[in-house]
Each structure stands twice: as structure tokens, then as C-alpha cells.
Amino acid sequence: MKAYLLYRDRDADLQAPLPALADTAARDLELPTILDAMSQGDPFLREVAQRTLLTGLTSVDAVEYRQQILQDCLAQPSIVREVYRLATDALLGEKRVWRFYRPSPEMILSRGLEVLGLFVRHLHSLREVAASARGKLRSPGLTRFFSVLEAELSDDFFESADRHLAQLRFPDGILMSASLGEGLAGDRYVLRTSSQAKRGWAHRLLDRWRPSNSFEIGERDESGHRNLAELRDRGVNLVANAVAQSNDHVVSFFELVRAELGFYVGCLNLHEQLTRIGSPTCVPEVRSPAELQLRVRGLYEPCLALRLGQRTVSNDLSADGKRLVFVCGANQGGKSTFLRSVGLVHLMLQAGMFVPAESCTASLSRGVYTHFKREEDATMTHGKLEEELGRMHQIVAHIPPEGLLLCNESLSSTNEREGSEIARQILRALGEDRVRIVFVTFLYDLVHGFAQSPVDPSVLLLNAERLPDGRRTYRMVEGAPLPTSYGEDLYRKIFGAGGEAAAPEAPGGHPPGGPNVPAEGPTVPTSR
């Protein structure tokens, strides 16, 4: 029995390796927050959600197949949740059936029968849900899934299953020496031939009068009865094996249903939470990678919204035909947040999900790659620049044409002039490879080169908006970047007007607006 709920023509593969560098993108884009919301504490849902989000689809048809199922799920959440609950219950029930640490065949059989009974009950319920869903669903995926369920879980199937369950319950029916080992536990057991025959009647009689030398094992004393059980165990070994294997087959079916449906349950969970905090979502219009479209209205960063529990600042982005987007401007202006929101939109879109925006028309990418600034490399053999170039090298080796690369302050671990030069070479080469790039950067030397007219029509320049009074709006506006990012403002705010921690011999306060040059220090040349 197939589910075909994630792909039109194949099962989800939970063992398949994730695309190269997907874990990096997940981390950089704060995907765990999305996964938390999707999984609601269910580690399995989390795994499914993560895999599905990181294994993006690359054809419009495949995405639309999922989008249709998702629309059904959003319209009929209770049906989908019920089937997921049944699969989960069955699997959980199986896990709860006592499992001996070291089972004997008899125990394996006994357990196997109990599990099989449990599974048959759940399969009954599943058929009832399938029958009740008839006529309520529109998507080809879910419609087919439920009709397959009804056909396969026939009356004949249940009849023969019950027959097996009944039959397998079989309704019709030493002398050794030991010494004391470690901790005085019996040790060096040697089975001895009974010497009973050699002992005279007088000894036997004597034994009977020495009850303190013997004891009886209680009726329910399992360890004491283990030896007796051994023969029975040999008898049921093969059939126990068959029952156990049958159970394994049913488990794999429930696991498949749970995995494939789990993704949609995750979507429902996330949808409910975003709706609760008033954050809009939409099922996007998907375009092929070659069309190079990206038009989003009301785009926001869902992790931040989830974390704050409220609707957050949104941006409109109109980047049709743009291959390279620079995002510059004020510190704390929301650039990283914006960059993550762009990345998340693409990941979610490619998984067949809704996206965090009011409306969205976008081309699929052939994979989302991230190059975000990192903490000092903990393995120490690389300096910071080498560390980030090493990561860039990995990306360059893997990113396909029409992939999406998100850079957050890449090449900032060397000085501005050199960082800009390296960046120029990478951007030019990847651009010619039809890789799309969104680049948050302070490398003004780099950006100014692209800002000079005539501006390349495939390049978009965005700035984090900063009002004249210094406040940030967290909105990205089009335009060429300004040369400073206001570090001096912050310095004065934190270190006080004089900019000093405490020092009597400090030179006087710094006039606002320009770098202060200490009396004893050299004059500092500017960067350009």
C-alpha cells in the first residue's frame, strides 16, 4: 500500500541524505524555530518537517501537487489530523506493548499477537475515516490515498486476520554443583548426573525431614520457570518469527503514513500559530526557476514573529528579473531578519508550503545556500577569513545554476578593500552561472561599484531604512547605500557622552558626527 502524499509517484524516503550544506542553511535561517512550531514537541514531526523543508522540489508540478493536498488539509484539518493520530497511536501502542529485555520465543509470539490485534483495530478505524472522507476532498493526492485505503482494507482482509489471531493462541492446549563467585553469587555451575539412585532410602527419608534445606519457587516466579519454558519456546519459534515479521510490515505502513501526513500536520500546526498571532500566510504562485520571478507583498520573518508572539514588520519585495540583490545600511536595521525571511520564503515555497507573506509569486530555486558570518572557528586551524573562504568554497562546489545564495556579511573578516575584491570575483563568476544572490554587506567599496550608473538591470540595491532622527523602521527601501553605519552613535549611547568608562586623564568629550582623534594618536586615513 502506498500513500503518495509527498510525491505523485514515490514514497518519502526518510533515510535519504539531505542535500549538501542543507544543515548549514537550516541553522542560518533559524529553521529550528519553524520546526518547533510545526512539531509542537513531537520529535517525529520535527524530523519530517525538517527533511521535507530541506529537500526542496524543483518542478512546478511537484510543488502544486503538494499545494493541492495542503489546501485540502487547511479546509478539512480534522480528517488529516485523525488519520495522523491513528497512525501515531498504532505505532505508540506497539511501543507500549511490554517488551522483554531478553525475550524468549514464547514471549515474542505472545507480544506479536497482542501487537497484531492492536494493529487490526487501528486499521478498522482507518477504514472508517476513509469512508467518512468520501466526497469531502478535492486534491488528487488525498483522494487517491483514501480510495486505496478502502480497497485494500477489505472485509476479507479483516476476516483472515482475526482467524490467525485466534488460532495462534493455541486454545486446544537437575542436579548441579556450584561454588561462590564474586559477591557470593552462584558460580561455576556444573550440571551433574542425578545421584538419587545411588542414595539409599534412609537418606531420602532423612531429606524429607530436613525442609530447611529446600524451598519452592512461587507460581508467578518467572526466572524460576525459565528452564521449563525452553521446550515450548523451541516449538513456537518459527511462527513467532512470522508474526513478528508481519507486524514489522504493518509498522512500516503506519510509519509511511505518519511521515507523509506528518508534514501536512506540521503545516497545519504552523498555520494555526501564525494565524493566532495575526500573521498572514498565503499559498504562493510558483514559477519555474528560469522565469526569475520574485514578487512578495507583506513579507515577514516568521521565526521572529513566532518568538515575539505578534505580527512583525513586513516588507514588500519586487525583484523580478533580479539576479543580485544587495542589502546595506544601518546596524540593527533588520537586514539579517530580512535576509532570513527571503530564505525561508524559498524553503517553504519549495516544500509546497504556504509562505509568510500576504501574497507571493516566485520562481523555484534549485536549492537554498547560505553563507553567514560565523563565530571564531572552534577548531582553530583556520583563521577567520580562511574559515569563511572554506565554506564559500564548499558552496561554490555544490550550488547549481539557478540556486539561491544568501550571504550575510560574507568576506567581512578581512578589510573592506580586500573583502570587496574577493567578493567581486565570486559574484561575477556565480552571476554568469545564473546563481541568484542576496547579499547583506558592509562592503561599501563593493556595493558602490554596482551602484554607479549605468546600473545593471539585474541588480537591486536595498537599504535598511534609518529615519533622520536615527530610528530604524526595519524596512528595506530601494537606493544606493550610505557610507557609514552609525557605529559612533552606538558608542556614545553605550559609553556615555564622553565615551569613557572612567578615566581622569581622558581627553574631553567627542564632538558628534566625526571620528575623534586622540591628541597623542596619529591621524587616521579614511577608507576611500
Partner: protein, 511 residues
């Protein structure tokens, strides 16, 4: 016994080390990694407080250096290591006793523990006495252990334990299982029956399959049936088992608390020493630094980053050593120069040396004089986290402000590559402000920067420059030398090394 400590001179309180502090500093200096490696296999001793609690006076530092020197001697080191190992086994046994459910089993485990304990004390006193330790710590330890060993209770307990053990080893008995009944009798010799049984059931065997044969744990898992059997065996040997029964009650608190603490304390030295051993084997020097609280003229010769050296020696790579020295008014190393030249490593090394010196341990290098700092402050870049909505630069400035508010002229401040999240103009401005504040505080400092201009702010600063191989700009030498900043970086050469120039990327082969 009156308490003695291998970690603190008499008069200081060894039982209450300061609350662990400075975790971010340990992380920044990569000492957290070093200490984690050092602690491997010794988790139960909870050495963290020792490594996280620096000493505050020069005499305490010397006290530990003496003990560490004693433990450099193989005879003393092995004597104490073996002693600690045995005491550990004894403790494990005693802990196990608590968990056992049956009286004879408990008594026998207890008996084994006492026996081992007696042997361990006897042996360590013999070995320490023969070795003649030089440190105040180990001498005082030997003195105490000797008088303990000679005491009457200790002697009689050990004798009694040995006799009991010998008696129990000789016990043999016969078991009969019939229906649900089990009978215990005196042993009488009859043939091994399992051989006959096996041959009888051979015919049922059906090739290879999943093995369902049950295996039994022999250790500490006595079930009630075995316990009942043991009670019946005891009836066969009443006098022997009476002695056994009474033994634990008469020797309940035999494990001396001082010995337990010594077992833990000696781990501090042994763990560090084992770590050093690997580096020594690779030819790397260690020395006992001269530690001073009154001079700022620090130096180290042929020193290196402990964590990096550990990793490199494991990879069988060469470790580059560096020298540093401050004289007269000099207080701050301003480290600039090409990337990948070992700037960060140099900064860490200076920090590590001063930290390790405060623990009373030998430090990497041929020779060193170090200042006993009141505090080490580090500011290394942190990874951005969404929880922190303040923004990176603000976060960085807030942390620097906190540090600079606490620095004294006896502190060491290490700042690594700050302000790279902002523009060059901003970084220049901010770097100069911060560095000038450190200069005014008169603290020791290491300031790593991209900005050459910061390396000559006055007589307190010493310019150190990382270097690369002249014939191959992308090859690092890791040498950091004292010379004016030369303003050359080699970024493009490094980019080429990673195949990231335009030509490299266009010409690459696709996956």
C-alpha cells in the same frame, strides 16, 4: 587524620574552592576544549571547579608548583596514581553494596572493598617513603598516611578481612531443582550432566538464525532465588557465614574522608600531566613560570597555544612557537598583519599562559615570567543569535563597556578583531577609543586588529605582526614577531588557495 591538601597550603580552606567563574574566558581562550580533553575519563571527579578557580597569591601558586614537580617524578606519580585508582575501585564497590538486596552478598562486597583498601594504603606508604618527596604537599600526605597505617584499628581490620576471604573461596555445594522445588546439599562428586543433555538435543538444531539464547549477568544481579539458595548454603557453613554477617557492622566507616579528597585532588595534577605528556613526546617544552604580582615585565620563550598544539600533534603537524616580552612602560601587544598568520593564536597563548600560571601549573614554553593577574578579560567575536535583538555592534560595545568598567592595572585584557561588523571608518574610530581606554587603565593587554594604524598609539603599545611565508603568500608561518605593522594582507592569495577567484570558479568542475 587532620586534613591535608595537595592543592592548597595549610591554613587556606581546601574544602571550599571559589565559585567557578570566567566560563566565557575559558571558551575564548579555547581552554574549555583543553580542559574537556584533560578531564576525559575523570568526569566523576568534577575537576571543573579546580580548573575554574585561579589562585590569588604567589605562595599558593608555588605550593602547587612544588607538588607538580614531585609528580614529574615517575616513582611518585605512579605511586599516587595507583593509589587513587584503587581507592576509586573501593568506592565503586561500596556504592554497589548500597544497591545490593541481600545480606550475604552485601557483606561479601563490603569485605572485598575493605581488603583492597588495606592493600592500597600499605602500598602507597611504602612507595612514597621510598621515593622521598620534596614538596610540602606530598610530604605532609606521607606523614599522615604512615601514622594511619600503623594504627591498631587499621591493622586488625585488614587481618580479619583476609581470613574471611580465604574461607569463602573454599565453599562448594550441590543444588537440586525439581518441579518448583530447589534443594541445597553438601557437595558430592558426580559426572558433568550438561554434556549429555547437549548431545540429546543436538537433533533439533536448524541452521543459523537469530540467536534467542538467554545470557545471564553474573555481576551484582543476584535474584531472590539465588539469595534463598545462599541462605541455605550458609546453613551448611554456619560459623563462616556468621563472621561474614557481622563484618560490615563492625567496620562501617572505614574509608577515611581525607583519603577520598586526596583521590580527587591528585587527579588535577595527573590529568594535566597526562595531557602534557603527549605534547612533551612531540618535543614541545613546558616550564614552571616565575609568577609575580609586582612586576609587569612579563615574557615567554618558545611558547604556543596549548589547544592548537594538542590538535596539531594529534595530526602529526608541526607546532610553531613564539616569544613575547614586555619591558618598562610596555603593557599591550597590538597584533596586526595578514590573516592566517596566527594573530588569534598568539592572543590566546598569552591568555592561556597567564591563566595556567594562576592555577599553579606548568605552562607551554622554555621559560616564562608571568604576572599573577587579578582577572583575565576576553572579548572575542560571538555568533549572532536571533534572541539578541540588540544587534551585533551594540552587543559588542555593551560587552566591551562592561569589561572596561571592571579592568584594573593588575588585569589582562584580550580583545580580538572587533568591529568587523561595521565600516572601516567606524572600526577605526571605535578601535582607537577602546584601545586608548585600555592604555589608560594600565592593564596588560593583547589587542588583535586588522587596522595597522592602531599599532602605534604610544609607549604602552608593542606592535606584533603575524607573518606569512615570503615565497608563498598563502602559506602561514604562524610566527608573530615584534615589528611595526607593515600593512600587507594577502587576501587574494588566500582566495586563490580556496579556488574562489573568478577564473577558478568559472573553470571549476560541477558536482
Amino acid at each position: 587524620m587532620r586534613p591535608t591538601s595537595l592543592l592548597y597550603p595549610a591554613g587556606t580552606d581546601p574544602s571550599a574552592p571559589d565559585a567557578p567563574s570566567g566560563a566565557p574566558v575559558l571558551h575564548d581562550l579555547n581552554l574549555d576544549q583543553v580542559f574537556s580533553t584533560i578531564k576525559v575519563g575523570r568526569e566523576e571527579y568534577e575537576l571543573d571547579p579546580y580548573f575554574a578557580t585561579p589562585l590569588r597569591d604567589v605562595d599558593s601558586v608555588r605550593y602547587r608548583q612544588e607538588v607538580a614537580r614531585d609528580l614529574d617524578r615517575q616513582d611518585l606519580r605512579e605511586a599516587l596514581a595507583e593509589f587513587a585508582r584503587t581507592i576509586r575501585t573501593v568506592r565503586k564497590r561500596l556504592a554497589q553494596v548500597e544497591k545490593l538486596g541481600y545480606r550475604y552478598q552485601q557483606a561479601s562486597w563490603f569485605l572485598d572493598a575493605v581488603d583492597q583498601y588495606g592493600g592500597a594504603v600499605t602500598r602507597v606508604v611504602e612507595r612514597l617513603a621510598a621515593a622521598q618527596p620534596g614538596s610540602r604537599g606530598v610530604r605532609s600526605l606521607l606523614e599522615q598516611l604512615s601514622s594511619y597505617l600503623g594504627s591498631a584499628p587499621f591493622r586488625s581490620r585488614a587481618d580479619e578481612a583476609q581470613q574471611l576471604k580465604a574461607g569463602l573461596a573454599e565453599v562448594v555445594y550441590t543444588l537440586r531443582l525439581k518441579g518448583r522445588r530447589i534443594t541445597v546439599r553438601e557437595f558430592s562428586e558426580t559426572p558433568d550432566y550438561s554434556v549429555q543433555v547437549l548431545s540429546t538435543f543436538q537433533q533439533f538444531q536448524r541452521g543459523a538464525s537469530k540467536d534467542y539464547r538467554v545470557k545471564f549477568d553474573r555481576v551484582a544481579s543476584m535474584n531472590h532465588v539465588e539469595a534463598e539458595i545462599l541462605e541455605l548454603v550458609a546453613n551448611l557453613f554456619p560459623e563462616l557465614f556468621r563472621q561474614l554477617r557481622e563484618f560490615p557492622g563492625r567496620h562501617a566507616d572505614f574509608l577515611d574522608p581525607t583519603i577520598r579528597r586526596l583521590e580527587r585532588e591528585v587527579q588535577f595534577y595527573l590529568a594535566y600531566r597526562e595531557f602534557l605528556e603527549k605534547l612533551r613526546a612531540a618535543g614541545l617544552p613546558f616550564c614552571y613560570p616565575e609568577v609575580t604580582a609586582t612586576s609587569w615585565e612579563v615574557f615567554a620563550r618558545a611558547t604556543y597555544d596549548l589547544g592548537l598544539a594538542h590538535k596539531l600533534t594529534e595530526d602529526r603537524s608541526e607546532v610553531v612557537t613564539n616569544d613575547f616580552q614586555l619591558e618598562g612602560p610596555e603593557r599591550i601587544f597590538v597584533v596586526s598583519g595578514p590573516n592566517q598568520g596566527g594573530k588569534t593564536t598568539f592572543a590566546r597563548t598569552v591568555g592561556q599562559l597567564h591563566y595556567l600560571a594562576r592555577l599553579g601549573l606548568p605552562v607551554p614554553g622554555e621559560a616564562a615570567r608571568l604576572h599573577l593577574c587579578d582577572e583575565i578579560f576576553t572579548h572575542f567575536e560571538r555568533e549572532e543569535r536571533i534572541e539578541n535583538l540588540r544587534g551585533k555592534l551594540q552587543d559588542e560595545l555593551v560587552r566591551l563597556h562592561e569589561i572596561l568598567g571592571r579592568v584594573t592595572d593588575r588585569s589582562l585584557v584580550i580583545i580580538n578583531e572587533s568591529f568587523t561588523t561595521t565600516t572601516l571608518d567606524d572600526a577605526l574610530f571605535l578601535g582607537r577609543e577602546i584601545l586608548n581606554q585600555i592604555i589608560r587603565s594600565r592593564a596588560l593587554g593583547v589587542y588583535v586588529t586588522f587596522i595597522d594604524e592602531l599599532s602605534a598609539l604610544g609607549p604602552a603599545t608593542v606592535s606584533m605582526v603575524s607573518t606569512v611565508a615570503p615565497d608563498d603568500p598563502s602559506r602561514r608561518t604562524f610566527k608573530v614577531v615584534r615589528r611595526p605593522a607593515d600593512g600587507k594582507a594577502y587576501a587574494i592569495a588566500i582566495a586563490r588557495k580556496y579556488g574562489l577567484t573568478y577564473e577558478d570558479i568559472r573553470g571549476r568542475s560541477r558536482p
